[in-house]
C-alpha cells in the first residue's frame, strides 16, 4: 500500500514488484487455467507490423512515429508540471521538441507541406502504440531526469529495432535503403541518450520515498 512503490520497470533503477494480487474476480478454476497460460505481452499478440509498400509509405510511418512520440512527451511534461516536478517536466518538454524536430525534418526531406494523413483505421504498429511513444504507466510523480532518460533510451532502442525489422521485411531495395538510414539515425539517437545518461546522476535508492500518505480528494 505504500505510495512510494517504484514504477519504472524498463529502467535499471526500479526492481519489478511481483504481482501479489494481480488475479481478478476469477473463480478458482479459471485462476488455475490462467496459471497455465503463456504470458505474452499484449504488444506482440495484439498487433501486426505496419503494411509498408514504398518509401513514401515508410516515411509516413517514420513521421507518425516521431510526431506521436513528441505529443506523448508533451503530455508527460504536462503531467509532471501538474505534479510540481519541474525538472522532469522540462526534460520531457525538451524530448518533445527533439522528436518534433525529427518529424519536421522528415517533412522537409520528403518535400511534404503538411503531415501525411493517417491511413483508414489509423496507424498500425506492432506494439500497442508507436515504437517511440512512451507508456503513461511509466511515470512517477517523484521520478528524476535519469528515469526520464531511461524511458527515452528505451524508446529510441525500440525505434531502432522497428526500422531494423523493416530492413528485413522491405518489399524493395529502395525501401530497404531508406529503412537502413532510419535505423542508423535511431542508433545515433540511442548513442546520444546513452551519453546524456552518463552525465546524469543516478537516483538514490530511496528516490521514491514520500513520508506522507496519498491525499483525499472529491
Amino acid at each position: 500500500m505504500s505510495p512510494a512503490r517504484k514504477p519504472i520497470r524498463r529502467g535499471a533503477a526500479v526492481a519489478k514488484k511481483p504481482a501479489k494480487k494481480a488475479g481478478r474476480k476469477a473463480p478458482p478454476a479459471t485462476s488455475a487455467r490462467r496459471a497455465q497460460l503463456k504470458v505474452v505481452p499484449a504488444a506482440v499478440a495484439a498487433h501486426s507490423a505496419p503494411p509498408i509498400k514504398d518509401v513514401e509509405g515508410l516515411m509516413a510511418y517514420a513521421y507518425a512515429l516521431e510526431a506521436e512520440a513528441s505529443e506523448r512527451y508533451n503530455e508527460f511534461a504536462d503531467v509532471m508540471e501538474t505534479h510540481n516536478n519541474r525538472e522532469v517536466a522540462e526534460l520531457f518538454r525538451k524530448l518533445a521538441r527533439i522528436e518534433n524536430i525529427h518529424a519536421e525534418h522528415i517533412l522537409e526531406e520528403m518535400g511534404w507541406t503538411s503531415p501525411p494523413p493517417p491511413p483508414a483505421g489509423g496507424w498500425r504498429w506492432e506494439s500497442v502504440e508507436g515504437p517511440e511513444t512512451a507508456d503513461f504507466t511509466d511515470l512517477h510523480y517523484l521520478m528524476q531526469p535519469y528515469h526520464a532518460l531511461q524511458i527515452a533510451l528505451h524508446n529510441e532502442k525500440r525505434a531502432e529495432a522497428f526500422f531494423r525489422d523493416l530492413v528485413q521485411r522491405a518489399p524493395s531495395g529502395k525501401v530497404r535503403t531508406a529503412a537502413k538510414e532510419m535505423a542508423a539515425e535511431e542508433a545515433e539517437h540511442v548513442q546520444l541518450v546513452e551519453e546524456w545518461l552518463k552525465r546524469t546522476p543516478e537516483p538514490e535508492s530511496d528516490w521514491a520515498h514520500d513520508p506522507d500518505p496519498p491525499r483525499w480528494s472529491d
Binding site: A22, A42, W125
Partner: protein
C-alpha cells in the same frame, strides 16, 4: 471549464483535449483512457460541441473537464441517469457516460442494471481499477475478496462483481473490454461502442499506480479475446462467465433496438389539453 473550439477545426484527438490538465497520479491508466476517448471522437469525425460527457464522482469521473466537449460532472453514482435524461431530451447529441468501478458498480449499481435494460443509445466507459482512489484505497465491487485495506482489514470476503456478465444479463447491447495500456485498441473499441445502437458498455482495465501498483502487471496479462465477437447472448454468457477478466475486445454485440427516442413531435398546443377538464 470553458474551452472555445473552432467548429471548422480539423478533428484531431488533440482538439478534444482541454487546456485543463488532469490531476490524476502520474502513471495512472486514466490518462490513456482519456487519449482513447479523444481518439475515438476523432476517428468518428465528431465535433466537440455535439458530444456530452457525463460523469459521477471519483478519479476517473473528473474526465469531462479534461475534454473540449460539453461536460456534466454530477454526484457520486448518478452519471447514468443524468446521461439518460440528456440523451432522451437531446437525441441528436453523442452522449458518453464515464466513471470508475466504485461510482458505477457500487453506489450507482442500480442505475447500471437499468441503463442496460433501458438500452438508451449511449456509451458507458468504466475505468476499472478495483479500488476507490479518491478516498485513499478502499475495496470496490471489483476488488478481490481477500484484498487487505484499512477499512476492510483482511479483505471484504465478498465475491468480486463481474460487470460484463451483469451487463449482458441486464440487456446491454454492446459489451467490450479494453486495457488502458493499449490506447489505440481501446480507442477503436470506444468508437465502435459509440457507433453501435443502444446501450454500449466498455469496461477498461485502468491500473491505479498509487493503491494497486501490482496492476502494472496487467500489461503482461491482457490478451486479445481469442474468439470473435458474438451476437448470441448464450455464447457470450458462457465466455464471460469463464473468462479471467483479461480478454480484450468486443465480447458481445447484440441487435436489440435502442430505447425509442423519447421526445415526440408536438401535435397539439398546450392550451388544448384543458379541454378534458371543461365541464
Amino acid at each position: 471549464m470553458t474551452t472555445p473550439v473552432k467548429a471548422q477545426a480539423a478533428v484531431t484527438p488533440q482538439a478534444f483535449k482541454s487546456d485543463y490538465k488532469p490531476v490524476w497520479c502520474p502513471g495512472c491508466g486514466d490518462f490513456s483512457v482519456l487519449s482513447s476517448i479523444t481518439k475515438a471522437f476523432a476517428l468518428l469525425a465528431l465535433q466537440p460541441e455535439n458530444i456530452a460527457i457525463v460523469s459521477g464522482i471519483g478519479c476517473s469521473s473528473r474526465i469531462p473537464a479534461y475534454t473540449t466537449c460539453y461536460g456534466f460532472h454530477g454526484v457520486h453514482g448518478r452519471a447514468l441517469p443524468a446521461a439518460t435524461g440528456l440523451k432522451l431530451a437531446r437525441p441528436e447529441l453523442t452522449v458518453v457516460a464515464a466513471g470508475g468501478d466504485g461510482d458505477g458498480y457500487s453506489i450507482g449499481g442500480n442505475h447500471f442494471l437499468h441503463a442496460c435494460r433501458r438500452n438508451v443509445d449511449m456509451t458507458y466507459v468504466v475505468m476499472d481499477n478495483h479500488v476507490y482512489g479518491m478516498t485513499k484505497g478502499q475495496p470496490s465491487p471489483t476488488t478481490e475478496p481477500d484484498w487487505d485495506s484499512k477499512l476492510s482489514p483482511g479483505g471484504t470476503g465478498m465475491r468480486a462483481f463481474n460487470p460484463l456478465v451483469i451487463a449482458l444479463a441486464a440487456g446491454a447491447n454492446f459489451i467490450a473490454r479494453g486495457f488502458a495500456g493499449d490506447p489505440n485498441t481501446t480507442a477503436t473499441l470506444i468508437a465502435e461502442a459509440i457507433s453501435a445502437p443502444g446501450f454500449s458498455f466498455v469496461e477498461v482495465l485502468s491500473p491505479c499506480v498509487t493503491f494497486r501498483p501490482e496492476q502494472r502487471e496487467w500489461k503482461q496479462m491482457v490478451r486479445p479475446a481469442p474468439v470473435q465477437s458474438t451476437d448470441d447472448p448464450g455464447r457470450a454468457a458462457r465466455r464471460l462467465m469463464t473468462d479471467d477478466g483479461m480478454n480484450v475486445g468486443v465480447l458481445y454485440k447484440g441487435s436489440r433496438a435502442a430505447y425509442r427516442t423519447a421526445i415526440a413531435k408536438a401535435q397539439r398546443r398546450p392550451a388544448e389539453l384543458e379541454e378534458e377538464f371543461k365541464i
